[in-house]
């Protein structure tokens, strides 16, 4: 088993996949804590469907680089969605559901009507559930991913205190002169970038898992914002590595294996959390 793993690790393709996988799950877990706390757990789902719709349109128009369309469209939707939190005509969760389902249906419709490909359901399936495309990454894509991840992590560290203040209490922050709207905008843009990046890895349906599982697991065990953030980052990296390695060894689909690893780890965290609480109360 280990021999097999080491042979695989000699392949640059596998190394690339591991690098990209770890970075993407690290980025999404960092911002996941904020999103879960702001009650935007489903934004990953919603935005990834928007990205799916945009990809469908890009495919129809035969754009050589579909990122040029997908990224701006997703960013715009992210900004709109996070904005509805303050203006309550359509509540955040309803707005996400609406955009998510709408974009998914539209994307599939466009693909179906205009696509020239012979295997539409195969295309759709791989966009939604993630293909093996993480194992076919080019060096440029890996470099792009590394650069964007470094930017995302740097933004998170530099704005950590502001993100905390805005997440905990937006009104208080605004009243004390913090430019909460600007930071919300920043968070939205970063989220959109992460999601577009992550689509390569786990596909559009499973992005939510990368965002919510690390945060939820960390919240079972830790009590301060800093420890929750740090633990969810560690959790995300370990689960992605495990998921990737298992999927390579066992030949299972990458995205769902990573999510399965997340689910198992989440359950373990729940059990530890309950055990710790019981022990504390019995003392």
């Amino acid at each position: 088993m280990l021999d097999k793993l080491f042979t695989y690790l000699q392949h640059p393709i596998v190394v690339k996949a591991l690098i990209v996988g770890v970075l993407i799950s690290l980025c999404s877990s960092l911002f996941g804590v904020t999103l879960v706390l702001k009650r935007y757990s489903f934004i990953g789902d919603g935005l990834s469907h928007v990205a799916f719709g945009a990809i469908a349109i890009a495919t129809v128009f035969n754009l050589t680089n579909n990122m040029l369309l997908v990224l701006p469209v997703t960013v715009i939707c992210a900004v709109l969605l996070l904005k509805t939190g303050q203006n309550t005509k359509i509540k955040g969760d309803a707005a996400i559901a609406m955009i998510s389902v709408g974009a998914l249906a539209l994307g599939y419709l466009i693909m179906n009507v205009f696509s020239t490909s012979a295997n539409i359901s195969g295309d759709v399936c791989s966009t939604l559930f993630g293909s093996t495309s993480i194992l076919t990454l080019s060096t440029t894509e890996v470099v792009l991913c590394i650069v964007l991840s470094v930017v995302v992590i740097a933004i998170f560290i530099l704005f950590y205190n502001k993100i905390f203040a805005v997440t905990f209490d937006e009104n208080f922050s605004k009243a004390s002169g913090v430019r909460a709207n600007a930071y919300n905008f920043l968070i939205a843009v970063v989220i959109a970038v992460i999601i577009v990046l992550a689509m390569n890895l786990v596909g559009s349906l499973l992005i939510s898992a990368l965002i919510i599982f690390p945060a939820l697991s960390a919240m079972r065990l830790f009590n301060s914002f800093r420890s929750v953030t740090v633990f969810s980052a560690v959790f995300a990296v370990i689960c992605s590595l495990l998921g990737l390695i298992i999927s390579i060894l066992a030949g299972t689909p990458v995205g769902s294996t990573i999510v399965a690893a997340d689910v198992v780890a989440f359950l373990i965290c729940c059990i530890i959390g309950i055990a710790v609480k019981n022990r504390a109360s019995s003392h």
């Binding site: 704005f159 205190n161 502001k162 905390f164 209490d169 208080f172 009243a175 009590n223 301060s224």
Partner: protein, 239 residues
Amino acid sequence: MSYITVKNLEVGYERKTITEPINFKVDKQDYLCIVGENGTGKSTLMKTLLGLIRPISGEITFGDGLKANEIGYLPQQTVVQRDFPASVKEIVLSGCQGRAGFRPFYNKEEKMLAKENMERMGIGQLADHCYRELSGGQQQRVLLARALCATRKVLLLDEPVSGLDPKVTAEMYDLIKNLNSEGITVIMISHDIAAAVKYATHILHIGNNIFYGSRDEYLESDEGKFFLSNREEGKKNAG
């Protein structure tokens, strides 16, 4: 010049006014209570004072060296905060965010300020505790300490005792009164008129009629008399 002067201010949402024009001023070391029934626009007025929503007409002027963002705000608790994983220290420190500006991390001075204010509110020993595991009264003290990090001049408190039991409520009122005697101006929203009459120096009553004046003037006014007669009746009924 007063800290805050409000002239013919009408507040509301989406260009719909929900109050008559309001006039009042807040001077240094005043203790102003804004009282009135639910739904009369107390919270909307407060949000307008804080600059969270725009006034529909009229004006708010800040003077006597007070800047608009030098007001410490104690909001009503939100659902999000109730299960938020954060330590007391982290929350109190976030009150310094306004003064930190674009600087990404807190400096020594700000950490000291947070520590002082935690001691001042009697929650120093809770610094590393989790906010969601504290009692209601302790949580209010945490938010008050945070507000004190944001201001040395004016506190705006939105129903600071809602959901607290009578003993903790009394402690909270005493705490606020002490801050006021230490020189901090207090503006408090409340529907507890009895407490308002007991502690405040000035009262702004929002409702069908708007009243603004000192506590004694309020007790002489129609609104005040109405309240007092209700209380007498309440006493009679209780007796």
